[in-house]
Symmetry: C2
Subunit: 403 residues, 2 copies
């Protein structure tokens, strides 16, 4: 198309909310170029070797042969998938009515919708620091004021949360929501114990603030079962977000929100593409039926536990002894706290030169923290590459100290 | 979940735009209950007998076996599908740069996004009457002021459009967009000739109003080729919306918008689920490659032309002679103008009692018109049922006159 002199006039036509959307988030980062041989431990992608390809092909085959008019025509999301989500949640002490569940195209869609339905520009929200970079960036881009509360080895620091809520209250401000990942947090891998969960939901109820419980990693536990979900403790003040991305495959783009029907109703209304398509909802339900999904999750957990252990063992062998890190009991990530002399700004270029990369902690905070923190994903690379990547990273740290 | 006394408080938390979203559109209609034996000619669904099931199964198989890490993992929409859209549009005189194309989950998603990025509540838009009920309802629900301009056998009435634009201009109002389906319009089936298309885009440019060209039926022509698309005549003032729903299958939920890069950029930003998933974009591209889609469209057109002709022949044989209707050259619909003594309110209950249903014209207007108009879809039912449905409807009309 040839640019026309009148095109600029189009600007005039946009709605108010669109006219000031040009900000760049503080998390934005231009990573140095990686080469083909770089082992990236940066991204929390699922392990492609574990995708259930045969099961998916068989499900498509049986679905299209048996129900072709409803899988391929105009149709609402398959009710059987909602029922499957209800059954899974009920087994975890979260009984749900039909109007308390919403299917969506990945958790990210739900996180994008939340500011639209809950917030006006300038509203205050509370976010863990560090947190899931996609969520932080989404909230920032909506013009929200982000209060950061630190994450410890046992999750969100509740003393600081309480003092933050109290301070806001004295200013006449009620935060619109608290965004938290209580189970195998991204990026720290931390797990919040039951007592803390109980205190967290009590604080939310006391101050009248909705909790957004992002449970992307909730099924991925290597050892013991997990404490009650926040929504199981208090369904009134918690909106829960679950996903098939980590337990089936991210590419199917299937997640769910559940919680207060009044919130679910409005998420539905603002979900611009309507219900999730009949094809994908049937495919996910078909492949997950008859206990298959739980068997598959057990396979995933055995596999991810092994890669996590390999990463931890190699870290113990190769990193300088003053590098601190967590030992996750599930999820996708090991989080590393670097010594003062090894900031990310120094470590990252040297690491990439040595053929390994990671996610800088600074991308996980809305406020510039994380200069001495890095996230290492054991999820995506093969165990062999996880081990080799950590060796390269450990060698880089020693090199930098000898330099 | 047990409703809690505090739940009501949640209302307090919603954003301003969400707090007044409880209106019911004037198009809302409770249809009488149909039985299992009712032949519905109401809905413009695709014919399930024409879904390319074998081709889709083969495409899934080859896609998952060959590219499993990128089809099933986190990944952007498949660039090859955008390239395929660009190539198809270029062959129809619409050359497009990459940043002038957006993939979406069905045209309906694009139509839902338009008010968000282009309009503030109360803004004026211009819509054909009758029009696609989903679009009219979406625009109404966003609190827009809808100016209805009638559709004739050759499309939008341009004299009335021009006087509407002029009247608005004297009131200091510039409409935000004109929503039109110039090719095999839904519901009238009308086709706008080239000269009218040229005048329409000239009016849009003169008054500085974006045209939304919904081209859902643009490939479904029974006979001659179709006049130039509006966007081919003037790319500056037209945003084009295309879809795979009618030419492949609605269930894949795949559509595209193309036009001014500034608009595409903002549609992208407000599309809450991010890019369309890698799985579906690869699947659609895979099945559509190597000229397969054009061969498939030729099969569809031969088939739909036959069912359309069967409907028209049966109407000629069985409807009272003073019932007027169009003779579409493509698309999915025959539109019928009823005589004064046979309003929809009288015809519909009697028709359903006789085992046939249709879409009342009133559902296609924002302003209560259409009391003597009905839409008959020949797309969904088999040819045998189309013929039987029209026979029942004709018999109903004669019955009502004899009563």
């Amino acid at each position: 198309m040839i640019p026309s002199p009148v095109t600029a006039d189009v600007q005039h036509l946009f709605s108010k909310i669109v006219q000031h959307d040009e900000s760049i988030s503080p998390m934005h980062l231009d990573l140095p170029n990686e080469t083909h041989d770089t082992i990236s431990l940066a991204y929390g992608d699922a392990d492609p070797a574990l995708f259930p390809v045969d099961a998916l092909i068989a499900a498509v085959d049986s679905m299209l042969t048996g129900n072709l008019d409803i899988s391929l025509n105009y149709a609402p999301a398959y009710a059987g998938l909602v029922a499957l989500v209800q059954a899974r949640m009920a087994r975890q002490n979260v009984p749900l009515a039909r109007n308390e569940v919403l299917l969506a195209n990945g958790s990210s869609q739900i996180l994008s919708l939340l500011p639209q339905i809950l917030c006006n520009p300038g509203d205050v929200i509370i976010v863990e620091g560090p947190s899931f970079l996609g969520a932080v960036e989404t909230f920032f881009n909506c013009g929200l004021t982000i209060e950061t509360v630190p994450v410890r080895d046992d999750g969100l620091d509740l003393d600081i949360l309480e003092s933050t809520l109290a301070r806001l209250a004295t200013q006449g401000i009620r935060a619109k929501f608290i965004y938290t990942i209580p189970t195998f947090q991204n990026p720290t891998g931390s797990l919040m114990p039951l007592a803390n969960r109980q205190r967290l939901v009590a604080l939310a109820a006391q101050y009248g603030v909705i909790i957004i419980e992002d449970d992307a990693y909730g099924d991925l536990h290597f050892e013991n079962p997990i404490p009650l979900k926040l929504i199981a403790i208090d369904p009134t003040w918690v909106l829960y977000v679950g996903t098939f991305s980590k337990i089936l495959a991210p590419g199917v783009r299937m997640a769910w929100a559940c919680g207060p029907a009044e919130i679910i109703k409005r998420l539905n209304r603002f979900k611009t593409e309507g219900s999730n398509g009949p094809f994908m909802t049937r495919l996910v339900a078909q492949v997950s039926a008859d206990g298959w999904l739980d068997q598959h999750i057990a396979i995933l957990n055995a596999h991810y536990a092994q890669k996590c252990q390999a990463m931890l063992d190699t870290i113990a062998q190769t990193f300088p002894s003053d590098v601190r890190y967590n030992r996750p009991l599930g999820g996708f990530f090991v989080y590393v706290y670097l010594p003062n002399d090894l900031p990310v700004s120094r470590l990252l270029p040297a690491a990439i030169a040595n053929g390994v990369s990671f996610l800088p902690g600074t991308t996980c905070y809305a406020d510039g923290q994380g200069t001495h923190e890095i996230r290492l994903a054991f999820s995506f690379q093969s165990q062999e590459k996880v081990v080799e990547g950590i060796r390269r990273l450990g060698a880089t740290m020693h090199q930098l100290r000898q330099a």
